[in-house]
Point group: C2
Chain length 314, copies 2
């Protein structure tokens, strides 16, 4: 049995191995993902992002349990793009310690940066598709932090949740302004701390600044995830949002958009491989030396490399 | 005169226009950058990153003035990858208000995210090369934030400075652990605040965790940039690092590495264009529909699109 068949037969180890293959950007991973394609498109993908310390992992834990209670299977992909040094397994390790891991209806995976950021976002997207084909009803894509990297990663989700907490200083609010617009649902966790209402109002004000009047008005929910308070309200809003996406035709558009991006990525990466196999190293090394010596510039060197292909096509 | 000629003739408006062209990812921008290539490689590129509120802009301001005093010209590229919403012009606007703008030996440019992150990093790299060819001795590449995006952007610098300040909570330290390894020089700014020595020691301890014993031991400098305190020490360490790069042969390696990356980027982007010009939209739309309908998967669809090219080459 190949890895795709193992995933479809319900083999968790097959799922884990295929995700590892995707992380290593092995071409075979895309062959296997290709085989899974016709089994995808059934999961509801929920993205969760927010600053460290806001209790995201606890919320993910409680959400997963809530979904398990209503009989849905749950996949969790925890991504840490901030740490090329540690490999970013912190998040996943913390989650793994909970009792969720023993539940056969749950699959948890953590990922860190391996080199290039684009690679991480692609790997996260691939992992989500594997879990989708594996039959997970709900897939939670969790990222730590609040920068452009996280925006790119949660772009693979249908419903995006931003977690905040009371009492973050103004400086931190500023850096996060950029991700406000991607939130479909806002959670103020640790709402028993002072300033929860103030934070709610600040988010409300920031949302009001968005010049595009959206049909979906993002709800702001106060939770105390540690005690399970407010989690049911979050699940309810997630389901409302899912219904909105389906009814408005947005869901279909998201699927189409995802497919366009995936096709583009595939064409580019396969092209890269074709080129690599067809340009001999000596030519390339000679060109690098010529560019260093300023006999030619990178733009013209690339044109030279691609001349044969262009001539044939035109 | 084309834009490259205008840049080489010392025309600041030409510089500004070429950078705008690079930001819009216009093919012509790369033709012009190609023409500038033989005039690049002379500037010392200094990257500065750190959390908002740490006083990075003030440091950049003071550094620029210090370099002007010793007769060096200075280019500043301020990049804000955190804000797709505002266009990220905050940083640049703040800098523009200082008296530096009136100095003919200084060129300042700010950039925000326009769509894809990779694009921003490429645009920043292009802007740096324009300023290099324009004859700026020192180019300061400033980014806000402390995530993977910033790591990618400052990777275009020869000397990377990380700015911290006393009294940031543990939670914030955690998110920044990932960027510690890229720092060649550490600044604790606002050192008159409580906890400066503690922050110094924490950074010292974190640096000690790096398993690769580097030849260059990153210095940690306390500054009060607002009052100009410690800025001379920073300049001195920057010059020490530059000498280290040159003497150790690291500088040459960086140039070569940069050229390899640039050639790779050029080959991929030109290929993308060749493909786009050679696949008719109808075929592509048909494929997207087929993928949605699950008649074919994205991997196989890409293979189909590229079949002709591959056949010719093999």
């Amino acid at each position: 049995m190949d890895l795709a068949e193992r995933v479809l037969s319900g083999d968790k180890r097959g799922v884990a191995r295929l995700i590892s293959l995707i992380e290593s950007e092995d071409d075979e991973a895309y062959v296997q993902l290709g085989k899974l394609h016709s089994h995808t498109g059934n999961a509801h993908i929920i993205g969760i992002t927010g600053p460290p310390g806001s209790g995201k992992s606890t919320i993910v834990d409680k959400l997963a349990k809530a979904y398990r209670e209503i009989g849905k299977t749950v996949g969790i992909v925890a991504v840490d793009p901030t740490s090329p040094f540690t490999g970013g397994a912190i998040l996943g390790d913390r989650i793994r310690m909970t009792d969720l891991t023993l539940d056969p209806g749950v699959f948890i995976r953590s990922m860190g940066t391996r080199g290039h950021l684009g690679g991480l976002s692609r790997a996260a997207s691939g992992a989500v598709r594997v879990l989708d084909a594996f039959g997970m009803d709900i897939i939670i894509l969790e990222t730590v932090g609040a920068g452009q990297s996280e925006v790119e990663i949660v772009s693979h989700a249908h419903t995006t949740i931003i977690v905040e907490m009371p009492g973050l200083g103004d400086e931190i609010q500023t850096i996060k302004a950029g991700i406000m617009e991607i939130g479909d649902i806002f959670i103020i966790n640790k709402a028993d701390r002072e300033g929860a209402d103030k934070t709610s109002m600040e988010i409300q004000a920031m949302l009001g600044l968005n010049p595009n009047k959206p049909e979906w008005v993002p709800p702001i929910i106060q939770t105390i995830a540690r005690k399970g308070k407010g989690v049911d309200a979050v699940v309810e809003k997630i389901e409302d949002h899912y219904k909105y996406l389906k009814d408005s035709g947005m869901f279909e558009k998201m699927i189409e958009q995802g497919i366009r991006e995936e096709l583009d990525i595939q064409i580019k990466s396969q092209l890269g491989r074709i080129i690599k196999n067809n340009i001999d190293d000596k030519t390339l090394e000679k060109l690098v030396k010529d560019i260093i010596d300023k006999n030619i510039d990178p733009y013209s060197a690339a044109k030279f490399v691609l001349k044969d292909i262009e001539d044939i096509l035109n």
